[in-house]
């Protein structure tokens, strides 16, 4: 707190900043901030609120002109909205980033070994580390992947790990996104915008750059192309211009210098994939697909889908094309499997997890159930079954009757539930209608895996713009912040 008070006394912009009892990314940290971070604080503190608002308006106008939008589907039509962007950056120190980076790399390594195992020998199931039914009965488990070898053993080429920080500033994994994580385009665009419209804030700071992402991703996708192709053609497969993430697809295709294709641009002949060009059919070797498994190939999955490519899975199984991410990776980012991730890491790597999960109690296990029942009023209980998503209990907000009702459900079907303590997410100063206020943030670092795993320095910091809200999703009024990683 004293740290915060000093900063507040120092200055204008933060004079009214009232940090509740949370870890604050900028003003209320547990450590002695490095000079770079202190510099950002001081410079921000000297900003006049009116000037900051002027810059924010300029940023928004620029995003609008650029059409950097996501699509919100209302009843009648799709509306393009600009993702709200906060001009006060979130800053990570070099040691913090080092920890996150190593933790993410470790997690990706474990996830890839796990996926290979469950589609081949299934050692982890035989050894009873994770219940077989949880994996084999999982809706995302894909029979077409059984026994198939993917280049380099890489299933998850692009991974987004959702992290939060607790009251002590510890990073905790909230969720893995091993299917088609999105948001990386905002990281790069937001940085461009910050450097252009807030140049005085970043000037002279040693920030880790983010513009390597496109070339790194391209290289990784070329590295995992089928063997024997000298100069692989990589493409990005998008559902098309009406998809909510279309802007990101365009952005990534441009950053990589590759064609952005839709299903109708591709065709499969004799088990090989081609794209239709003005010069005729041209071979395609590696596909960064931003299309869910179900839509990839109407011959194998949803027969009504027009988005995919008939025969694509056959070409994939024959080893003639690489899909990134592989099919069937959804097993690894499932809520129920998440609970086992620390054990999965220990099992395959014989290492302790660098990034820990939010403390999770597996009700399928007797001690997990007992703990959950005894502490229900302090816990969030989540259903993990295939139909998961609803039936969440937030203990501290529940009535006695609701708690009692839930105890009944837990006893009736314990395997369907996990429980976690309520996390006090960290906050970051954010420009709000009433001034600069504390808002909760999370962090999604992006990892790219070809022959090795590279993590984009920083990642997407999402911010819950509503006061007190813990929901950072863009569809629910969340915004983004630029994430700065100090190089030293």
């Amino acid at each position: 707190m004293s740290d915060m008070k000093m900063a507040a006394q120092a200055a204008g912009l933060f004079a009214t900043y009232d940090v509740p009892d949370f870890f604050c990314e900028l003003l209320n940290r547990k450590d002695i901030p490095p000079p770079g971070l202190q510099q950002v604080r001081d410079r921000l503190a000297r900003f006049d609120l009116a000037e900051l608002r002027r810059r924010a308006a300029a940023v928004e106008a620029q995003f609008y002109r650029l059409g950097i939008t996501f699509t919100v589907y209302s009843d009648r039509e799709a509306i393009d909205r600009v993702l709200p962007f906060d001009v006060i950056p979130r800053v990570l120190t070099a040691p913090e980033w080092d920890h996150v980076e190593r933790g993410v790399q470790q997690r990706v390594r474990a996830i890839n070994l796990f996926l290979h195992d469950i589609y081949h020998e299934r050692r982890i199931l035989r050894d009873g580390v994770i219940p077989a039914q949880l994996v084999l009965g999982n809706a995302n488990y894909c029979q077409a992947m059984v026994g198939l070898d993917v280049p380099g053993g890489v299933y998850v080429h692009i991974n987004g790990t959702d992290l939060v920080r607790d009251r002590d500033g510890r990073f905790l994994v909230l969720e893995d996104n091993a299917r088609t994580p999105s948001g990386v385009s905002y990281v790069l665009e937001d940085r461009q915008m910050m450097l252009r419209l807030m140049p005085d804030l970043a000037s002279g700071l040693d920030l880790r750059p983010v513009d390597e992402y496109g070339p790194r991703l391209h290289r990784a996708l070329a590295e995992v192309a089928p063997a024997g192709v000298d100069d692989p053609q990589v493409v990005l497969l998008s559902p098309g211009i009406y998809n909510a993430a279309y802007f990101e697809h365009v952005f990534l295709a441009r950053e990589m210098g590759i064609p952005l294709v839709e299903g109708r641009d591709l065709t499969v002949e004799d088990g090989r994939v081609y794209m239709r060009t003005v010069a005729g059919l041209r071979p395609v070797h590696s596909i960064y697909r931003r299309l869910n498994d179900d839509f990839l190939d109407p011959q194998v999955f949803n027969p009504d889908s027009l988005l995919g490519v008939p025969g694509l899975v056959d070409a994939y199984r024959r080893g003639n094309v690489t899909l990134a991410n592989a099919i069937g990776t959804g097993v690894a980012d499932d809520k129920a499997v998440y609970a086992y991730m620390p054990r999965i890491i220990r099992y395959y790597l014989d290492e302790e997890p660098i990034l820990t999960n939010v403390e999770t109690h597996i009700c399928a296990e007797p001690e997990g159930l007992a703990y959950t029942l005894a502490n229900l009023e302090h816990l969030v209980v989540k259903p993990v079954g295939e139909s998961g998503g609803y039936g969440l209990l937030i203990g501290p907000h529940a009535t006695q009757a609701e708690l009692e009702d839930f105890r009944g459900r837990l006893r009736a079907d314990p395997a369907n539930y996990i429980s976690q303590p309520v996390i006090s997410l960290s906050v970051s100063p954010t420009l709000c209608p009433a001034g600069v206020e504390a808002r909760h943030v999370d962090l999604r670092p992006f990892a790219v895996t070809g022959r090795e795993t590279w993590v984009l320095p920083g990642g997407l910091s999402r911010v819950a713009l509503r006061k007190g809200s813990l929901v950072v999703n863009s569809s629910q009024g969340g915004g983004a912040k630029d994430t700065w990683v100090l190089a030293s």
Binding site: L66, T267, R276, L281
Partner: protein
């Protein structure tokens, strides 16, 4: 210093081959922008050249130039300024209205977003958002000229930005194809409608009303001052038709548009080794030869309308052949490719 190659590599390493869908979208983006500009020009000229005594006279010519008699009169009883302007600017159900065309431009621009320059996209993004939102309040009699001026300016800004920033590869060539095919089409429509339907019965060729209509045609084609420069004394129908069809210096003449189409197809065949260009080149060349070999007097004598009609049919065939060669229907290509 870097060495300047005599034959610079004409393609990006990652985008050696232009997707068929991109080529199609590029062509239509250019066509729609050209069409919007032409529509704005036509409406503005019609609005300023109608008789002071009857503000609603002359508006039916806009419908006839666009061959929209059927669809228009299904919706409106008479062609007045209000009904015609509404139909061609703000009617979202008319595919030829400016709001509809702006929507098409936007969709094509979104498809082409990976290919076009940021400057192009920013301008198209803002322009199409504005144009798609045009409503009855924006097209009142007092604002019509201002609105048309803004539309024309936005189109010309687009063409300027494109000329200055679009990477010169196959996509650029398909863009030029679309723009020039559209120009060729528009100029023949404009001449055709004037020559055969505008002149009220009882008025002779060369009368005052005839000449003022020819002046409007020139203005609609942005050719008035250029024509004056070249033929200051020769304001005759034959001279005007000749200028619009055959003048090689005027950027919107038929001969200039066809020359550009021809050279673009030649580049696609030569620099980019695209097969299938041969028959289309031949068709364009035949058009150019017949145009060059005949005098305007010959053309008028044999029937200007029939000639314009033939040219328009040929332009449609060229468009179809381009589509068949470069973005063939999926089933056909699946058989022939491989």
């Amino acid at each position: 210093m870097t060495q300047v190659s005599v034959f610079p590599t004409p393609v990006l390493p990652g985008l050696r081959n232009l997707l068929s869908r991109y080529a199609e979208s590029t062509m239509w983006l250019a066509r729609y922008m050209e069409r919007i500009e032409n529509m704005a020009r036509l409406i503005e000229v019609t609005g300023t050249s109608v008789h002071a005594s009857n503000l609603d006279a002359g508006w039916d010519s806009v419908i006839r130039i666009n061959a929209d008699e059927d669809t228009f009169f299904l919706r409106h009883k008479v062609a007045t300024e209000r009904t015609v302007v509404g139909f061609y600017i703000t009617d979202p159900d008319n595919p030829d209205s400016i709001v509809s065309m702006a929507r098409c431009v936007r969709e094509n621009a979104r498809v082409l977003r990976p290919l076009i320059s940021t400057e192009m996209w920013m301008h198209l993004n803002m322009f199409t958002r504005w144009a798609m939102d045009l409503g009855p309040d924006d097209v009142g009699a007092g604002y019509l000229s201002t609105l048309c001026t803004r539309l024309k300016q936005d189109c010309q800004t687009h063409f300027g930005i494109t000329e200055g920033t679009l990477y010169r590869d196959q996509a650029w060539l398909f863009y030029l194809l679309g723009k020039n095919l559209e120009r060729a089409d528009q100029i023949t429509r404009l001449i055709d409608i004037k020559y055969h339907t505008l002149l009220p019965s009882g008025e002779g060729v060369g009368s005052d009303i005839d000449m003022s209509q020819w002046t409007s045609v020139l203005r609609s084609a942005a050719a008035y001052h250029a024509f004056r420069r070249v033929l200051p004394e020769g304001m005759t129908p034959a001279n005007i038709v000749g200028f619009l069809l055959k003048n090689d210096g005027f950027p919107r003449s038929l001969s200039t548009s066809l020359r550009c189409v021809y050279s673009v197809l030649g580049s696609l065949a030569g620099e980019y080794r695209l097969r299938h260009c041969g028959p289309i080149l031949e068709r364009v060349e035949e058009l150019r030869v017949t145009l060059a070999e005949q005098t305007v007097e010959d053309i008028i004598l044999r029937g200007l309308h029939e000639y314009m009609d033939w040219i328009q049919r040929e332009l449609r065939l060229i468009q179809n052949e381009i589509a068949g060669a470069f973005w063939p229907p999926v089933a056909v290509q699946a058989v022939s490719g491989g």
